[in-house]
Structures are given as structure tokens and as C-alpha cells.
């Protein structure tokens, strides 16, 4: 096989390269570009899976933006983040400083926190459904300790807190690993210099560690926002979106609209709006909190 060009037309190497890239592009055309085209088409037409699509222009968009259930699900993303962000950041910092603290047992501790991240979301959602139930182990322990039972899945705010706890349990190990990788890059001389200046532990944490961790914390924030908009398995299996749609996420509403109420055009518009909303929120978060830290 000759890999080099011979000056006439495409070389053998270029032909093989084009063929391999072409195979992927063909696959992409069928399973990515064509669905993309359908999504765009659905968003401006009226269609019910069986009839011919009828062009309706911006009517889907207007209808989506006035759909109280859809707007409620967007508000639920905000409510989820209100619980999730403190849990995610607090947990990530705890895991990161913990990993730094334990020394030799580091790998073991990391594995304990990461097992939840790589194992089954479906299975563990079912486990938490039982753990949070009114007679479940969590309520039994609370009942034995302080004599109260918490109706986790029957109260709108508690149900959202329960979902946030489960999702945080799943991702905190990964976020902690991200922050830990940032901790490793902070130069020790900075702390030594700060000690010479009589800076206390709290000052060192707030003025050196946290600013130096900004890139990693931004990464955690970005992942947390994407998780919030993509949430489906946990609320679908644990609360079923209830009580009264208080934990219904955008992905659940899209699923319901498309496959239960058979309004794919409406659902297509929703999924485009959701993607744009998550993109805008990520960009906004970066503008607000991203800092270029330069050691002068």
C-alpha cells in the first residue's frame, strides 16, 4: 500500500482519509443532520405523527411561551438549582479538601464517592424511591432519633429537595475530583508568602484558594446547569413529576407532550427553547463569575 502522493490527483492517503471521514459523515447525515432538519421543520408546523405537517409559522413558539406547564417546568429548573448548587459546591469542596487531607487512602475515598457516579441511575432512583418513602429507612431513622417522619414526596418543596439530594449524591464525587485537580495546581509558594504576611487560614482560603480554583468551580457550575436542564430519570422514577407538577422537569414535559399527548410539534419547539435557555444560562454564568486569575 502506498501512502504518499504521486502528484496526479488525490494520493492514496487522501482517498483513505476521505473514505473514513465520509463514513462518519454519512452516519451523521442519517442520525444527526436529518433529525436536526425534522426538529426545525416540526417547530414551525402542526403535526400529529400521522397526518401531513401544516405550516403554521411562529404559532408553536407563541403557544409554548404561554403554556403554563412548560413555564412551570422552567421555574422548576430554578427551584432545583436553588437546592442543588449549594449541595454541589459544598459537597465538591468537602470532597476535594478531604482528598487532600487523607493522604494514602486517597484512591479508596475517591472510589467511594465515584461509585454513585458510574453506577445505574435507573436502579438507584428506585432505591431512593424506597429510602425516601414514608416507612423507608430514612424516616425510620429520623423517627427513632427525633420522633418525626418527613413526607418527602408529598410536599412540593421537600420533593424537590429530595431530587436535589439524589442528584447531588450522584455527582458530588465527580465535582470533587474536578476541584481536587484544581487544588493540585495552586503553587505552594503563595501560601508560604501569605503566612509571612500573617494571613490567617480563613484569609488564605478566601484570598488564595478560592480565586485560584475559579476555573474548576466554573466547570462545576456549567455541569450543574446542564444537569438541571437534562434531568429526567430521577424525577420520572422518584416523584413522577409530582406533587402537582412541582418536580416536573422540562425533559419530562417534553416527553409527556410528545408521547402521551401526541403533540410532537409543540414538544419540538419546547426542546429548542430548552436548549437555547441552557446555553444562555451557561454563557450568563460565565460572564458573571468567570475571572482570569493572573499571578503577578
Amino acid at each position: 500500500m502506498r501512502w504518499t502522493g504521486n502528484g496526479r490527483g488525490l494520493s492514496r492517503e487522501a482517498i483513505v482519509g476521505l473514505a473514513l471521514a465520509g463514513a462518519y459523515l454519512l452516519f451523521t447525515a442519517v442520525f444527526w443532520a436529518y433529525p436536526f432538519f425534522w426538529l426545525a421543520k416540526l417547530s414551525v408546523t402542526q403535526w400529529r405523527f400521522f397526518d401531513q405537517p401544516v405550516f403554521t409559522g411562529a404559532r408553536n413558539l407563541v403557544r409554548t411561551m404561554q403554556d403554563p406547564q412548560f413555564l412551570g417546568s422552567l421555574w422548576n429548573v430554578v427551584r432545583f438549582l436553588a437546592f442543588y448548587l449549594p449541595l454541589a459546591f459544598g459537597g465538591a469542596l468537602l470532597v476535594a479538601f478531604g482528598l487532600q487531607q487523607v493522604g494514602r487512602g486517597r484512591a479508596f475515598v475517591a472510589l467511594c464517592f465515584l461509585l454513585s457516579n458510574v453506577s445505574s441511575g435507573v436502579a438507584l432512583s428506585l432505591v431512593f424511591l424506597k429510602i425516601f418513602s414514608s416507612t423507608g429507612p430514612l424516616n425510620n431513622a429520623l423517627d427513632a432519633a427525633i420522633g418525626v417522619r418527613i413526607p418527602w414526596t408529598n410536599h412540593p418543596t421537600l420533593a424537590m429537595l429530595a431530587i436535589a439530594l439524589v442528584v447531588a449524591w450522584k455527582f458530588v464525587g465527580y465535582y470533587g475530583l474536578i476541584v481536587y485537580s484544581g487544588l493540585l495546581t495552586v503553587p505552594r509558594e503563595l501560601y508560604d508568602a501569605a503566612r509571612l504576611d500573617h494571613a490567617g487560614p480563613l484569609t488564605r482560603l478566601l484570598r488564595i484558594t478560592m480565586p485560584m480554583l475559579n476555573p474548576q468551580l466554573m466547570m462545576v457550575l456549567t455541569f450543574a446547569i446542564l444537569v438541571a436542564f437534562g434531568l429526567f430519570t430521577e424525577p420520572y422514577l422518584i416523584t413522577g413529576g409530582g406533587p402537582a407538577d412541582s418536580t416536573a422537569t422540562p425533559q419530562m414535559i417534553i416527553y409527556e407532550t410528545a408521547f402521551r399527548r401526541l403533540q410532537p410539534s409543540h414538544a419540538a419547539t419546547m426542546s429548542i427553547v430548552i436548549s437555547l435557555a441552557s446555553y444562555v444560562l451557561v454563557v450568563l454564568a460565565r460572564r458573571l463569575f468567570e475571572k482570569k486569575v493572573v499571578i503577578a
Binding site: M1, L18, G98, G173, Q251
Partner: protein, 283 residues
């Protein structure tokens, strides 16, 4: 021995020791849901909520129920396990082979539009995949593939992420290997299978592991594409079983153990590759 112990004790301040113990305790607490799941799967259903974690009459009845009795409730768990395994292995094998060859082209072959191709892969990875689920359903329906294993395999046979990850690693290989392969007149297949793949086992393991776990635990897509119980993968069959027969807590937990076990085992055996893979995605 005693001097070593006292040296170990003095290596940290008392506060440092307290923090260390606390973090170990927290790490073990993180495993509690797994422990509870396994314990519940081995107890008779009435004892699940009433006994302490390690108390109760241990039994394998829940697993027996899952494999024998559940069939009569139109919930063929053994078959679902087979479907999950088949689909996951097909997707993983296909992603590995296609990614290796296409990544080799992207990283090492000169062809017109190569830079553009790389940029396109990056663009694809930024666009959220959940957006495509609805139109993908329309496509699979048009192809007449609903309720078939092809619906679970075909759309995932290639992965832009896999190609991108492998190409990053292939790019770092010294050119001498390829000079030698050229001198020996190695074919494309030989170059990739005998030279590139053996020298990049760690990235290949990473792509394989993350593809496997992602496919095994995929839920939303098979939930939409498969509606007949005898074609469902384990994740969906388990969820529908739990929705309909939630009272059978023991068998549900036994199913959860089945769904979790392959992933947990893979993670424990290949923990180094998993950690490496996570560290790679941080760059």
C-alpha cells in the same frame, strides 16, 4: 512497631486526624444506598422496612421471583438482561472499531477538509443530545424500526466523542511507528489493528468503559423506542415493573442489583482507567 505507630499518629495534628476520620466516615456513608439495595434484595419483602440493615432472614427468593414468576406477569427479566447485554456489547464494539479507524484518519492521514472535520466533531459535542430524541423517534418510526433491537443499536454505532478522544491520543504517537509500518507495506487494517491499537490501550479502555456504562444505563431513548415488554432492555423493564408492581419491593431491589452489578464490577476492576478518563475530560 510501636515507634512506627507513634510516628504515624504524630504525622497529623489531632484536628487533622478528626478531619481524616470524618472524611472516611462520609465516604462510607456514600455507599449506604448500595448496601441497603443489596440487603433489601436478599430479604423477604415484609422485612425490608422493618429490620435493621444487616438483620432479617436472608433468602434468594427475590431473584427466583424475578427469573421465574415475573415471566408470568409479562415481565421477562432474564430476556431483558440478555437484550441489555447484546445491545451494549454491539454498541461498544462498533464504537471502538469505527472510532479507532476514523480517529486514525483524523489524527494521522492528510486529506482535504481534515481540519474542518475536526471542528465539526467539536461542534457536534456541544449540542445537547436530548434535543434529538424526538426527531430521532420520527426517523426510527419512518424506518419501521420501533420495538426492534436495531432501534437501540443503529443510532449509536458511531460516536463523535469516541473519535475525538482517540484522535487526541493517536496524535501524540511518534511518527517513527508509521514510517516503520509504511516500510513494511502494512495495510490500513494492519496499521490500525497491529500498531495503533496496541499502543493506545488506555484511551481505548476509557472509550469502551464510558460507552458501555452509558449504553447499559440509557433510559429515556429505549423508554420511547420500545413499548413491548418482550423487547425491553433491563433498565426500562425494571422501571415499568416498579411502576406497576411497586409493592413487590424485594424483587424490584433484586432487579436494581442486576442493573447495577455489571457497572459496579467494571468500575472496581477498571478503576484506574475510569479515574484516568475522568481526569482527561477535565483538560
Amino acid at each position: 512497631m510501636r515507634t512506627r505507630l507513634s510516628a504515624l499518629l504524630r504525622s497529623k495534628t489531632p484536628g487533622g486526624w478528626a478531619a481524616t476520620v470524618a472524611i472516611y466516615a462520609l465516604a462510607l456513608t456514600w455507599l449506604y444506598p448500595f448496601a441497603w439495595m443489596v440487603a433489601a434484595s436478599l430479604k423477604p419483602t415484609p422485612q425490608i422496612y422493618t429490620t435493621a440493615l444487616f438483620a432479617g432472614d436472608w433468602t434468594l427468593d427475590n431473584f427466583r421471583f424475578l427469573f421465574a414468576t415475573a415471566d408470568k406477569l409479562d415481565r421477562p427479566f432474564l430476556q431483558a438482561l440478555g437484550i441489555s447485554a447484546l445491545v451494549t456489547l454491539c454498541v461498544t464494539a462498533s464504537v471502538l472499531v469505527t472510532s479507532a479507524f476514523i480517529a486514525f484518519a483524523l489524527a494521522r492521514l492528510r486529506f482535504p477538509g481534515r481540519k474542518l472535520f475536526g471542528d465539526f466533531l467539536l461542534l457536534q459535542m456541544v449540542i445537547p443530545t436530548t434535543m434529538f430524541i424526538l426527531p430521532l423517534f420520527v426517523l426510527v418510526k419512518e424506518l419501521g424500526l420501533l420495538n426492534s433491537l436495531a432501534a437501540l443499536i443503529l443510532p449509536f454505532m458511531m460516536s463523535g466523542w469516541g473519535i475525538y478522544m482517540m484522535s487526541q491520543s493517536f496524535r501524540a504517537m511518534p511518527e517513527e511507528y508509521f514510517d516503520a509500518a509504511r516500510l513494511d507495506r502494512a495495510s490500513l487494517w494492519q496499521t490500525v489493528a497491529r500498531v495503533v491499537m496496541p499502543l493506545n490501550t488506555s484511551i481505548i479502555a476509557i472509550v469502551a468503559l464510558f460507552t458501555f456504562t452509558g449504553t447499559w444505563d440509557n433510559f429515556l431513548w429505549p423508554l420511547i423506542a420500545i413499548s413491548e415488554a418482550d423487547r425491553m432492555p433491563l433498565s426500562v423493564l425494571l422501571a415499568t415493573f416498579s411502576k406497576q408492581y411497586g409493592g413487590y419491593a424485594g424483587p424490584v431491589m433484586a432487579g436494581a442489583v442486576l442493573q447495577t452489578l455489571p457497572l459496579a464490577l467494571l468500575f472496581l476492576v477498571f478503576r484506574r482507567q475510569f479515574l484516568q478518563g475522568m481526569a482527561l475530560s477535565l483538560k
